[in-house]
Subunit: 195 residues, 2 copies
C-alpha cells in the first residue's frame, strides 16, 4: 500500500495521547497528556513569536515542526518531571533510543529530518531551538500559575528552583517573556503555590 | 503586565482539551479530544506533504498554523460529527461567533490573521486549505480504520456516506492519499466497521 509507513507512523504516535504529564489542565480536572501539550505549545509559539529576540533569524514554520514532534520520544521514555533531578539522570540517552525507533518508522528524508529537529531542540543552541525551548518552558509554568499549581505543591517545588530551571532559557529567547515570567512567579509565590 | 492578552488567549484555549470528539483513540480506550486531534493533524500534514499535488504552491508552515487553530472554535461551538446532517445545520454560523470571541482576545495583527486562517480553512479553496482539509479528513478516518471503528458502528455510518463526505476533498489534494483511502475503506468494510 502507498503511504504504508506514513500510516504506521501516525498510528504509532497515537500513544502520545496516553502519556500523562505532571502538571494539570487549567481547570484542575486532570493531568494533561503530552499530545495536548504538544498542540498547545505549537499555538503558543505563534503568539509569542513577535516578542522574541532575533525573530528575523527564526523560521517560525520550522519551530512549529520542531515543537510538534519534540515530545514524541516520551512514548517509549515517558514524561520526565523537570524538577526531579533523579528522574532526569540518563534522560537524553533513553529518549534518543525512543527517537531512533519512532522516527525510524519513516523513510528518508523525513526520518533524519525529524531526528535532527529533535536533536536540535535538545541541544537548544540554534535560534529556532532557543525560542522553541523558551515556549516549551513557558506553557506548563503559565498553567501552573493559573490553576491550583498542584504539580508544584505536591512535589514541594521551591521558587528558587523554578527560577533556576526555567528563567535562563526563557530570558535567552525574550526579555518580554522573562518579565512576564517574573510577574507570574511572584504571584504564584504569594498564592502559596511555591515554597 | 506585558503579554497579558497572549496569556489570556493561551489559557482560554486550554478548554479545547475538554472537547470530546466522536472517534476513539487507536487503543479504543476513550474518545479523543480536539486538542489531541489538533496536534496529530499538524504532524500528519508534515508526513503527507510530499504526496500532495501542487506542493510547490503550498506553504507548509502556514498549513501547520492553520491546522493548529482550525478547531479552536469548538470550545464554544462543540465538535460536530461530520456524518450527522442535522447537527451540521448552522455549524458555520455557530463557529464564526466562537472564532470571533476567541481570536478576539488577541490584539492585531494576530486576531485577524487567525480569523482569516480559520475562514480560509473553512472555505477550502486555496492550495494551503485544500491540503489542510484533506489531512483533517484523513486522520480520523485512518484511526477508525485501525481501531474498532466505534464512532462509525454506533452511528450506523455507511460506506457510501464515508466515501462521499471524505474522498473528494482527499483526492483534490493528493492521488496517493485517495488511493490509500480506497484501500483502507475496503478493509474497514470487509471488517464490518461500515454498512
Amino acid at each position: 500500500m502507498i503511504l504504508e509507513k506514513e500510516i504506521e507512523f501516525v498510528l504509532a504516535i497515537d500513544a502520545l495521547k496516553n502519556v500523562s504529564r505532571r502538571n494539570f489542565n487549567l481547570d484542575n480536572s486532570r493531568r494533561e497528556n503530552t499530545a495536548e501539550h504538544s498542540w498547545q505549545v505549537v499555538v503558543f509559539a505563534q503568539i509569542l513569536y513577535p516578542y522574541t529576540r532575533n525573530k528575523e533569524k527564526i523560521d517560525l514554520g520550522r519551530v512549529l515542526k520542531m515543537l510538534s514532534i519534540h515530545d514524541v520520544v516520551e512514548i517509549d521514555a515517558g514524561d520526565t518531571f523537570l524538577f526531579d533531578d533523579k528522574a532526569n539522570e540518563g534522560k537524553f540517552d533513553r529518549e534518543l533510543v525512543s527517537a531512533k525507533r519512532i522516527f525510524g518508522i519513516l523513510d528518508e528524508p523525513l526520518r533524519t529530518e525529524f531526528l535532527n529537529l529533535w536533536l536540535e531542540f535538545e541541544a537548544g543552541e540554534t535560534e529556532d531551538a532557543i525560542f522553541a525551548n523558551a515556549v516549551d518552558r513557558m506553557i506548563p509554568f503559565t498553567l501552573n500559575c493559573h490553576n491550583n499549581g498542584t504539580s508544584w505543591t505536591e512535589a514541594n517545588v521551591e521558587l528558587e528552583k523554578v527560577k533556576k530551571m526555567l528563567r535562563p532559557k526563557i530570558e535567552q529567547a525574550s526579555q518580554d517573556m522573562a518579565d512576564t515570567f517574573d510577574v507570574l512567579l511572584k504571584k504564584a509565590f504569594d498564592e502559596g503555590k511555591l515554597k
